[in-house]
């Protein structure tokens, strides 16, 4: 799956996360900003990376504004943003 256009998913509400994706020149750049960067920054990063790998995303720009989201919320929002920004719309449920 490839990110072909800019897309956004999620909200700025507490316990949620805002994920923005955009196409890139071939590299994959993931930037995570979180109020709880110190305690959970690495974990958030790991969940995002894992979600992207499972979706087969190897290039793009992924910006994650975390507002205290649980892992399940992170996964859902990242997947939604990627799907919205992707060329292919059919879901492979096993990749989620």
């Amino acid at each position: 799956m490839k990110i072909v256009k800019e897309a956004i998913a999620g909200t700025l509400e507490s316990s949620d996360v805002l994920v923005k994706v955009a196409p890139s020149d071939g590299t994959l750049e993931v930037v995570v900003t979180s109020e709880v960067e110190h305690q959970f920054g690495a974990q958030i990063r790991a969940v995002v990376d894992e979600t992207l790998i499972r979706l087969g995303i190897s290039e793009g720009i992924v910006l994650v504004e975390d507002k205290g989201a649980l892992d399940c919320t992170l996964r859902a929002r990242v997947q939604t943003a990627v799907l919205r920004g992707g060329a292919v719309k059919t879901l492979d449920w096993s990749a989620l």
């Binding site: 897309a7 805002l18 750049e29 109020e35 507002k67």
Partner: protein
């Protein structure tokens, strides 16, 4: 819970009663309505207007929430809705201007500071890697030297006057970085202006031509209300524009000097040049000063060459006089593409 609130988008031009209500609401919250806003997100509790946020292209403006509800997630929700609306309208890279004491709130909305005019206004963008990445790209174009010069031109269109300025600037520098203003509010669209500049400077060595970027602030969408009735040196727009140049662009390229032409016919530009000396040279920023060098324009028939003069002649179709004011490359485009354009409508500032 936010279930009791309703959010929807409204075009103020199409809904005068909504617009009036928004104006009153903003005034109550100490903000001025801005006419350029294309769409508002409005939040209501029942019939009561409790929040709003506006968009002018990719600039977020006029965000306000009823004091009774501040502290709830209402403020976050209204900004969230504005961001989503902006995406729907094709704008993913957003800017906003706000008073410095609101920086923390907007930081919580995913906005990152670019510059601050001390105590007056802060400019922010909705990505942590916006201007940083842009400048990382610029750093790759650094050139060695003690005198690294710069010019920023709109060139509407590119004239002999511009060429002279650039030649002088290049001669006085170890390297010259030439920036083109990207905004399409000029009579000549960006693509044409850029091509004319590129063709016009083709023979000059030790010069890098930089296409415009979103970080050369747009006058058209700037929020001027921050500076009303305040004693700030120069135009607020100027301040922001120049601080971005001084604090981000100049350091990335190692720029030490900025060259501008004098503009006898244009009071706006004269003022701008004075303000430029202030914001680029005064001891008001942690960033190193950039020396401003004014270069007198060339004269043709005892009159300084200016782009506005060329546009005026274009309106009257006086191509003989135009030929004296512009390089051959510019003349070619004007006579082929713009000969029949008699309306002369030109929205941009000179040069």
């Amino acid at each position: 819970m936010n279930d009791e609130f309703e959010f929807y988008a409204v075009d103020p031009a199409q809904e005068p009663s909504e617009q009036a209500e928004i104006k009153a609401f903003l005034a109550k919250n100490g903000l001025s309505y801005e006419d350029g806003i294309e769409v508002f997100v409005v939040g209501r509790q029942g019939r009561r207007l409790i929040a709003c946020g506006g968009l002018e292209q990719n600039i977020v403006k006029c965000v306000a929430t009823d004091p009774l509800f501040r502290g709830e997630s209402l403020s976050l929700t209204i900004v969230n809705e504005v961001i989503h609306l902006a995406y729907e309208r094709g704008h993913s890279h957003l800017f906003l201007y706000t008073r410095p004491n609101n920086i923390a709130f907007f930081a919580g909305c995913g906005f990152y500071p670019i510059v601050e005019v001390p105590g007056m206004v802060s400019v922010m963008e909705n990505t942590p890697i916006g201007i940083r990445r842009y400048c990382d790209g610029l750093k790759k174009l650094r050139q060695p030297g003690a005198r690294i010069g710069s010019c920023v031109i709109n060139a509407n269109p590119f004239t002999r006057g511009h060429l002279y300025l650039i030649e002088q600037a290049a001669a006085a520098s170890d390297w010259l970085h030439l920036f083109v203003v990207a905004e399409d509010a000029s009579f000549f669209p960006y693509r044409d202006r850029y091509q004319l500049i590129k063709a016009g400077v083709a023979g000059i060595e030790r010069l890098t031509l930089h296409p415009g970027s979103e970080y050369m602030v747009s006058r058209a969408t700037f929020s001027s209300y921050f500076f009303k009735e305040k004693n700030v040196v120069g135009d607020c727009f100027t301040a922001v524009d120049l601080l971005i140049f001084r604090e981000w662009i100049a350091p990335a390229l190692g720029i030490t000097h900025r060259f501008v032409g004098t503009e006898p016919f244009c009071p706006t530009t004269n003022k701008y040049n004075r303000d430029m000396k202030y914001w680029l040279q005064a001891d008001l920023s942690a960033a190193a000063p950039v020396n401003v060098v004014e270069i007198e324009r060339t004269a043709q028939d005892a009159r300084a060459i200016s782009a506005s003069e060329v546009r005026r002649l274009l309106r009257t179709g006086d191509f003989d006089r135009i030929a004296k004011l512009v390089p051959p490359t510019t003349y070619e485009l004007l006579s082929s593409k713009y000969r029949m354009r008699a309306d002369g409508a030109s929205a941009g500032a000179a040069a």
